[in-house]
Amino acid sequence: MATSKLKTDRPTYASDFIPSDVERAVFLGNPVLDNMMTSLIALGAEVWSNRRRMKVVEALLADKGVTTEMIEQYMPTAEQEAEWQKDRDRFIDLTYSPLLREGDLPVSAAFTRDNK
């Protein structure tokens, strides 16, 4: 997980440091698995950030007379429902279709003209 370097002309009072080698750590036997675990947690942070913002929006809407109850009771139109389901399916496909992959070739597998 790359960290950023600060560029500024202002005084920082920072000193040289000895970097850790945590970026090279492999806990799960394969760095790709480690990377996926980090990505998964970061994705959780992003999703929660959106949900928490939605809670703010709902609280502000409540001040304007749109209550949580009204949101819960809202019945989408048939057109809305169809559109939302398409969106839901796009979300599911993007997120979970990688789980269906049946890879069986090692990365070192040679190219042959018969590859299909």
Partner: protein, 403 residues
């Protein structure tokens, strides 16, 4: 009208739950921003304050902080799962699951078990994400937050001494806790350490939320008085961004209180924060091995979790220095881990290992095996064993300098 403080108080639902479930005390720190209606020159305060906590300046950053804090609590659920798995591993090898093992032995036993390793991987990943979300924000807005610190540098109450030429020992130049740049290498080390440690303690059951400096206030409330009751000067050694320093001044308002640390950005942020709170304390970028204070200058010298960040030989020098600057009749009370030796149950040893090796705690195993109490006595202190622990669960080390 929406009360944002109610909705998103810095002590999150998770933090509140942890505190309530495990006995974390409610905020008892004395000073809040609101009390004094402070608005010092150059102050950047984008989202208001909750008590003495200036809210994380961006809603999304705050929400991600909230997530990683919640994840730390969730992460504890790995413990029983991993321990069950370890029991099976031990049984398959004919070993005693309740035996005592070194870190190396423990790591060797569990290194190929993906479930046990997931417990370490997720903890480290979450820690990396914690730092990244905070550092990225402050780097992106560096100009305004560096200007904020510049406005505070020479303002009071309190003073700030920065020393860019300080000879910083290599042992503390490491990226401790994998915080980018460690204590000394990033202009926003204080900002990162403040929000990062708030997340860390909220995720540990017996420490609990600390957005109101509850932990340091509890510690200071339990500090003993010197035998003659006189407290004119106090030093917080390795003060980081000065939470304990500020809490000391609040308990001893008539005392001259100092906080020193090798990290320039840490004491700089600490000074700005104390100044924003209107608390008159002095911060200086100095080394605990060689503080520059006169002999017998302080009635009380204390510290919070610095000794496990220091190798044993240098710890002896810090203790000698603490003894030198403590007056006759005064004391040094360092709050740090108990010294438990170098063996333990497999999972706890594995956790120590990942904390040491991958969370960049280079000297922690050395400290846990170090005989701190004897070293304090070797430095000249007389240990008072009757004093209750300042922070239960940590070492009890009240070293008096008897005349």
């Amino acid at each position: 009208m929406l009360d944002r403080r109610t909705l998103f108080g810095a002590t999150t639902a998770v933090g509140s739950f942890v505190g309530a479930a495990f006995g974390g005390r409610k905020a008892s720190a004395k000073t809040t921003f609101t009390d004094k209606n402070l608005s010092p020159a150059g102050d950047v305060n984008k989202r208001g304050t909750v008590g003495r906590f200036e809210r994380i300046p961006d809603l999304d950053v705050e929400s991600k902080w909230d997530f990683v804090t919640g994840f730390r609590v969730f992460q504890q659920k790995f413990t029983p799962v991993a321990m069950k798995r370890i029991d099976a591993i031990m049984e398959s090898k004919g070993l005693d699951p309740k035996g005592q093992y070194t870190m190396a032995e423990a790591v060797d036993l569990v290194k190929d078990d993906l479930l046990v390793q997931t417990s370490g991987r997720t903890w480290i990943s979450n820690q990396q994400i914690t730092w990244k979300i905070i550092q990225d924000y402050y780097h992106e807005h560096a100009d305004e937050y560096l200007a904020e610190m510049e406005a505070a540098d020479n303002d009071g109450p309190g003073t700030l001494e920065l020393n860019p030429d300080l000879d910083i020992p290599d042992y503390i130049r490491r990226e401790i806790h994998i915080m980018p740049g460690g204590y000394i290498g990033d202009a926003f080390a204080g900002h990162m350490y403040h929000h990062g440690t708030n997340s860390f303690t909220a995720g540990i059951s017996f420490l609990g939320p600390n957005d109101q400096d509850q932990l340091q206030t509890r510690m200071v409330d339990r500090l003993p008085l010197p035998r003659d009751g006189k407290v004119k000067r106090i030093l917080d050694l390795g003060c980081a961004f000065g939470r304990l320093t500020v809490a000391l001044k609040e308990r001893f308002p008539d005392a001259e209180v100092w906080g020193i640390d090798v990290g320039g950005p840490l004491v700089r942020y600490g000074h700005m924060r104390a100044r924003d709170l209107g608390i008159d304390v002095n911060f200086a970028q100095r080394n605990a091995e060689d503080t520059g204070f006169p002999d017998g200058f302080f009635d009380i010298v204390t510290s919070h979790i610095i000794h496990h960040e220091i190798p044993s030989e240098q710890n002896k020098k810090v203790l000698a220095e603490a003894y030198r600057i403590t007056r006759d009749g005064g004391y040094y009370y360092p709050v740090d881990f108990a010294n438990r030796g170098d063996k333990g149950p497999v999972y706890s040893q594995y956790r120590r290992w990942w904390d040491h090796r991958w969370n960049e705690e280079p000297w922690s195993p050395e400290f846990v095996a170090f005989d701190m109490e004897s070293a304090m006595e070797d430095a000249g202190f007389t240990l008072n064993h009757d004093t209750p622990a300042v922070l239960p669960g940590f070492g009890k080390r009240h070293g008096e300098k008897l005349a």
